[in-house]
Each structure stands twice: as structure tokens, then as C-alpha cells.
Symmetry: C2
Subunit: 336 residues, 2 copies
């Protein structure tokens, strides 16, 4: 019995995290074309933090939203064009309307795992416009299974046609994924999805555990290109899915070709699991903190691994980058 899994290729969105949002129009064009040719159902494009996020605070993207989306649109024929939207970064009036006008097909509205409330208006607007709308719960390791179900149910009520939980810190082991996906599948009417990161070397195994637990949607990227230690590697995932009897509509040689091209033309370095990625994964710290942690730790001569562990204890989330310096100063004090 073949079972269908819907794949979103986030190479041109999560991958942007790995290059400080410096993907250029040529890279977007060639990869979108290759993914389209391979039969990828949804190609997600944008700044790492999604639509409207380009800013001094989280990083300016090289190419603006309009150019990124228009470029991708031009090079996608069968694949749908998707965007990642965090309300707060992206407003409906300024950003979302324009994106839909360019021809975005799929909008994934994302919030921190305990803040689904903020997605209501955006989800509603996308549904009104007749486009596909999904809800995304980020940093999902920070909430219990029952809290995730409650938050996801809110999104479902707001009109989300599926809910994806993200392991934004790469903190999950397969048993965690099984627990949370099972709870969500049981608690929701809409399909459930999983977005992996590879900090603990489990991106593929966690993705496979998610679908064994009933998930129907998976995110992945070419060569794992993405934040931190990278995402689930799409060409590996397709191989493993095919071998275990799932279908995705993606051509295996086609996605191998796309990933070869990505390695050559899109990414400067293929992600590997560095020591700090492991510690940040273990500590459950968002991988967007990495560059700040390295820089500030070096400046004050403290062990960045201790910084991650303390940040993990304090349960920091994106936007709380100021706490890094507090933690470092405390470590300096304790050393004396």
C-alpha cells in the first residue's frame, strides 16, 4: 500500500539562514527550475525568517521579497510557490497582499509554539483569498504535547489546512517526535507535518518517525541547506521514503540533480554538524543564536558550550538575543 507524503522544499527559505539571507536571484532561479523539473510539490522561497523579515535586527536579505518571489514564480511551472509568514514581521497590508498578487500559492503562517493566537488574522486572510493556508508552530520542543495540541487546534479553527511543528533547535530524538506527532494526529482533523533540523544527527530518522506516527507533510532541503546543522536532506529523504513504500511525486534522479546543482551553485558550504550545533541542539537553543554566541563568547573568553547550556536553562527564544550578553557576563563573574 503506497502512502502519499506532501513535501515542501525549503531550500530557498531555510537555506537563506545559512548564508545570512544573501541568496541572489540567479540562485533562486536555477534551483526553482531544478526543483520544478524534479516534480517538487511546493517550493518555499524567502528570507530565512520569512516574508517581511529583512531588517537590521534579524538580517537584511540581499534580494527583496518582491524580486525573490517574482523570480521563483517565473521559474516554477508545476510546483506551487510557498512562503513562510511570521505575523509581526509580515503585515497583511504591506506584505501579504503583494505576495499573493505575485502568485504565491501556499502560505504557512508561523508563530512561537505557544503563540498561535497571533496567526488568526493572517490565516483568515489567506483563506478568504482562496489560497492554501497552513499553520506552523516553531521551537516546538519548548511546549508539551498537550500544549501543542491546544495551539494547533486554534490554528485549525482559524482556517489552517494543516499544522506543521518545527524542531527549530534540532533538539528532538525520535521518541520525542513520536509522542508529539501522535498527540497532534489524534487531536486534529487536518494533516500534521514535521520540519526537522539535524543538530543531533536525527533529521532523517525524525522525519521518518513523524510519518510512521501519522504525519503527512514533511519539510526538507537540498543537501540539508539551512539554519544550524541544517535540515532534513531532501534527496536522502526521498530515497528513504521510496525504499519504505511512500510516494511523493518527486523524481529520484531529478531531486539528486537538483541537489547536485544546489551544492554547486546555491550553497557555499554543505552543512555539517559542528560541536556548537550539538550543544545548541542538546540545550534546545534556536540556531539563529549561533553567530552571536560565538562572537560574544570569544570576546569575553568564556566557553560557548557553557553559554548554550545556560541559555537552554533560561529557555530563551528568538528575539531574546540580549540575554546572551547577560549569560556571558554571569559566566565571567562566576569564573572569578
Amino acid at each position: 500500500m503506497l502512502k502519499h507524503i506532501l513535501i515542501t522544499d525549503s531550500t530557498l527559505r531555510d537555506g537563506n539562514h545559512a548564508v545570512a539571507h544573501q541568496l541572489n536571484a540567479h540562485q533562486i532561479a536555477v534551483y526553482a527550475e531544478a526543483a520544478d523539473k524534479a516534480g517538487v510539490p511546493i517550493v518555499e522561497v524567502g528570507h530565512g525568517n520569512g516574508l517581511g523579515a529583512s531588517s537590521m535586527q534579524v538580517g537584511l536579505s540581499l534580494v527583496d521579497d518582491v524580486t525573490m518571489l517574482e523570480t521563483a514564480r517565473k521559474h516554477l511551472s508545476k510546483s506551487k510557490l510557498g512562503i513562510h509568514v511570521i505575523p509581526g514581521f509580515a503585515t497583511i497590508k504591506r506584505d501579504l497582499i503583494r505576495a499573493l498578487d505575485i502568485g504565491v500559492d501556499v502560505v504557512r503562517v508561523a508563530s512561537h509554539c505557544t503563540e498561535a493566537d497571533i496567526t488568526q488574522r493572517h490565516l483568515g486572510f489567506v483563506r478568504e483569498r482562496g489560497k492554501e493556508a497552513y499553520g506552523v508552530l516553531m521551537m516546538s520542543h519548548m511546549a508539551s504535547a498537550s500544549v501543542l495540541v491546544e495551539e494547533a487546534q486554534k490554528m485549525e479553527l482559524y482556517g489552517a489546512e494543516g499544522i506543521i511543528i518545527m524542531d527549530s533547535a534540532g533538539a528532538y530524538l525520535p521518541s520525542d517526535v513520536e509522542e508529539k506527532i501522535t498527540a497532534l494526529v489524534n487531536g486534529l482533523k487536518v494533516p500534521v507535518g514535521f520540519h526537522a533540523h539535524n543538530n543531533l544527527g536525527m533529521a532523517i530518522a525524525n522525519s521518518m518517525t513523524a510519518i510512521a506516527s501519522g504525519a503527512k507533510l514533511l519539510d526538507a532541503t537540498a543537501r540539508g541547506f539551512g539554519a544550524g546543522a541544517g535540515n532534513a536532506q531532501i534527496e536522502v529523504l526521498i530515497a528513504v521514503l521510496e525504499r519504505t513504500g511512500y510516494i511523493t511525486g518527486i523524481d529520484f534522479y531529478g531531486i539528486l540533480d537538483a541537489s547536485d546543482l544546489a551544492e554547486k551553485e546555491v550553497m557555499p558550504v554543505v552543512p555539517t554538524i559542528k560541536s556548537e550545533s550539538i550543544v545548541s541542539g542538546l540545550s534546545g537553543v534556536f540556531s539563529g543564536f549561533a553567530k552571536h554566541v560565538t562572537r560574544i563568547s570569544k570576546e569575553y573568553g568564556v566557553d560557548q558550550r557553557d553559554v548554550y547550556r545556560e541559555l537552554g536553562k533560561r529557555k530563551v527564544v528568538g528575539g531574546q538575543e540580549d540575554i546572551i550578553i547577560e549569560v556571558v557576563m554571569d559566566l565571567v563573574k562566576n569564573r572569578k
Copy 2:
């Protein structure tokens, strides 16, 4: 309840595959020292194909066996020194006696998964000399669980104090590991071990599945340095083992330091999962074939992915490199 897992660090042996056996004495010295400091129980050193294997056919090592082992011996104080021994490459008289005289503590005698017979004399000799002896079944995906149990029982009878199965082609998914390790644990009195490769992104997950199925021995390498898509990444494995309540005696920060040093001083490139690794893993082809397949496929203008798939169907094993050209010629013929 903490459970103990015995780790063999194969960075300086399997890693040698990744550099065509060109590890130098300085690299062996600095990594051995770092692994020793981190409390790694067994440090395995040598040519990728083990003791006595340096040759025109499988590749000449930069440094001879005696120098490699003497160098490592000098830099290990708490860690045991291990070697990988394939009878046929390594003779007792010429190679094994000398290695033991240098101070090797642990000898792992390896054969293709259906040829345990050839390990009898070597295993017996190591036990007579009072050293630790293990049996290793390579390319274990090519034999059924019941055949592996039979072969492993032979090694047990010959004196092996533990049996390790190798996923030499990186072909296993967790369900395969569970089936085979469970059968071995039930069929043997001695401890069972698993040696992973990462071609399908499952090296860490497969290693964890092995111990969940009763294995007590695991192999791993710094940053996954090794043949094909690399091995289980030791610093990730230690993180995941600690988090799930296993003990190894290895200090977590110590192994992170060792792996950082390895990336800087020992390996030219950290392994990533390339397209051809995925296809070779799916096809169950030994990763030592990779360079030949790429070269010959290019020469005759055939798709190397098709070559792997055909090699997989023909169930080739190490030593049968001649079949590559046969397969390529057949593909050329069929194209016409």
C-alpha cells in the same frame, strides 16, 4: 538505570579510507592524544582496510603499519590501541605478531559476512597471546539475520569476545538494524556491536536502534570521518547516548574538543552525503567502489547512478572491482 556502551573510535582507521590511506604520523599523534584525553576506551588505527592491507590494489598507505601503531601507542595512556585485521591482507607471522609486540591491546578480526571461517586462526592466535579479540562481519546487509547468527556463532566458537556487524555500504534503515541485532543478541553469548555508515542519513539513528535492540558495542568517528558518506559521528553519538541515559566513560567536552581538532588537523573535508553515496547506499554497494565507479562512468559517458544500481543487483563485494567495467560496457551496449 545507566547502561554501559563500549565505544571504539575508528577515526584513525576508517577515516583513512576518506583520504586514500594518506593519514600521516603527526595526525595520528595529535588525534590519538585528544581521544585519550577524552577517555575514549578503544582507539583503532591503521590502513582503511586494516593491518597489512597497504598495497597497489587497495591503495598504499602513506605511513607503514609499524609507524602508525608505534605513533599511536606513544600517545595513548588510558585508551586501548585497536586494530582491524582482515585475514588475507594480514598474516599472523608477518603482521599480527609484530603488531602485538608494538603493544596493540584489541584485535578485531574481520571477514565478509558469509566467510567467518577465515577468521579462525587469527582469532585463536590473539586469544593465545592473551589479547582482546573480536569478530567483525563486514557488508552485513548482504546476509539474512539467520546467516549472520550462524557466522557470528562460528566466530564466538573461535574465541571472539564480541561480534560487530558492519553496515559497510550504509544500506540499513533502523528496522533492518533492529531485526539483525535482535537475532544476534538472542543467538550469542558474547556482546554484540554495530558499525554504521551514513549513506542514508541513518548512522546515529541506526546506532541508537542497535543499542535499543541489545547491542553493547558501537563504532564511531570524529565528524563521521570515514568511507563513503562517513560513519556515525562520535561527538553526536556521545551527546545522544548521554541524553538517553547511557554511559561510555567518554567526557562530552573532551570528545567535542577531539572532533574540533580532527576537523582542523586530521581531515581535509568533513563528510557529507553526496548523491552517489545515497545511490550506493540504496544499492548496497561497498563505498570503496566510489572512485572507480565515478572514473569509469565518466570515461564511457554513462550515468553512475545506473552503474550503482546494476552493481547492487549483481551483489558485488570488495575485490570485485573488475565487474564495474563489465557493467559500464553493458550499459553502453544497451544505450545503442
